[in-house]
């Protein structure tokens, strides 16, 4: 068995999108864990072991890939990135952020490309070939 990713995090408010995305990632068997957060706030709490994810004396979870939706209620994808960028740099190392969106607005892709910490921009729906391509590009040692 080849090396696997530790964790893939999905941040998306749509339950059915999450359901399908989890199924897809499970099917390619590239990661030990898959985490789903329905809001940006939820995801920040997950990443910092706070709120609902409060854990004492445990290492902060370090997902390898964050798939991030843009249009979410309350804190949207951009606002999440703003807050995320305030986390200590060591906790943001070695992970990639893929903006995954239905948005057909080219402005969104331009904005995403300007942000150093956004690695890739993809349109929904997520597909198996898309997952494989992302893994091959950013984690060639996996798979």
């Amino acid at each position: 068995m080849n090396k696997k990713l530790n964790c893939v995090l999905f941040v998306d408010d749509d339950e059915f999108t999450n359901l399908i995305n989890v199924k897809l990632v499970e099917s390619v068997k590239v990661t030990e864990h898959i985490q789903v957060c329905c809001t940006g706030k939820d995801a920040l709490e997950f990443l910092t072991n706070s709120g609902e994810y409060k854990k004492e004396n445990e290492p902060f979870p370090c997902p390898d890939i964050i798939f991030l939706d843009i249009n979410m209620p309350g804190m949207n994808g951009w606002e999440f990135l703003e807050e995320y960028n305030k986390l200590p740099k060591t906790r943001r190392d070695n992970l990639i952020i893929v903006m995954l969106t239905t948005s057909l607005n080219p402005e969104d892709e331009i904005t995403a490309n300007k942000l150093a910490y956004v690695t890739a921009f993809r349109h929904k729906p997520l597909t198996v070939p898309m997952i494989n391509e992302i893994i091959q590009t950013y984690f060639p040692e996996v798979g």
Binding site: E15, F16, L19, K23, C38, P73, G74
Partner: protein, 275 residues
């Protein structure tokens, strides 16, 4: 000599007066021209707005047709599979298709309603007391279920669009109940205050409140602050409210503190140009 002096003095005055009159005339012309310009620009904006709403109406109408067919196809598929035992996942997917088809149906309906809002508006004398009473009757079950206390101040009789104004109250009172705290019964106050050229209304609650950074965003169409499993809805109510306030040439805004409550304000000017 003094006579001559007087004459030349009055001639000078007359010349100055003529010059002043000429300036006034030029200014008047400029004002007239600017007014005409503004009038045409305004009319232009109005007609563009109407056109936009027309597009929205047509687009949402046309979207409904394929959606209905999807619904029928899902029903047909379910019928074909009636004797087949589906896996749990397959059942979840089928349920998902139905849920999302219905959701899209309500989004399209919301868009249609939004585009048609104010289309057949009729300016009338309305008694806000009556309007609010009838809203409370409509919301009767919701109010009882939430154990909500609703206090109504003295509300005025004014000139407005009755159907739209009722919808405005309905949305704001409905929201005040919907976004209540889980452990505190909602207490809602509805009040009106006389402003210099308008009536200003306020609907306040002791609900969950709205973060400051979202206090403008909430009035935009399809903007929601919560996930659907927490508070259902498409994010259309306050967009409707904003459109209704603007139909009345008034404004709507909110003051709110997280964990304390929200106070929605809107005003209805005394003079509304019935366009």
């Amino acid at each position: 000599m003094p006579e001559n002096n007087d004459k030349s003095h009055s001639q000078t005055l007359q010349r100055k007066l003529d010059q002043a009159n000429e300036k006034v005339r030029i200014l008047e012309n400029m004002i007239e021209e600017r007014t005409r310009e503004l009038y045409y620009k305004n009319a232009n904006i109005h007609s563009q707005n109407m056109e936009m709403m027309q597009y929205l109406y047509i687009a949402s109408h046309d979207l409904q047709e394929p959606l209905r067919t999807i619904s029928s196809l899902v029903d047909a598929l379910k019928y074909e599979l009636r004797e087949v035992t589906l896996s749990d996942d397959a059942n979840v997917y089928m349920g998902g298709i139905t849920t999302l088809t219905e959701r899209m149906g309500t989004i399209i309906k919301d868009l249609l309603d939004y585009s048609r809002l104010g289309r057949e508006k009729v300016l009338q004398k309305v008694d806000c007391q009556h309007i609010v009473q009838s809203v409370l009757e409509d919301l009767h079950t919701t109010i009882e279920a939430a154990n909500a206390e609703v206090n109504i101040g003295i509300l005025p009789v004014l000139t407005a669009y009755p159907t739209e104004l009722k919808l405005l109250f309905q949305n704001l009172i409905g929201n005040a109940i919907k976004y209540r705290k889980t452990d505190v019964a909602p207490v809602i106050h509805i009040a009106a205050e006389r402003g210099p050229t308008c009536w200003e209304f306020a609907i306040s609650d002791n609900g969950i409140g709205i973060e400051e950074k979202y206090q403008e965003k909430i009035f935009m169409i399809f903007q929601r602050l919560h996930t659907r499993n927490k508070y259902d809805g498409n994010g259309i109510g306050l967009a409707h409210c904003k459109k209704i306030a603007e139909l009345h040439e008034g404004k709507i805004w909110v003051e709110s503190t997280i964990g304390v409550g929200s106070k929605f304000h809107f005003n209805i000017p005394d003079k509304i140009n019935n366009t």
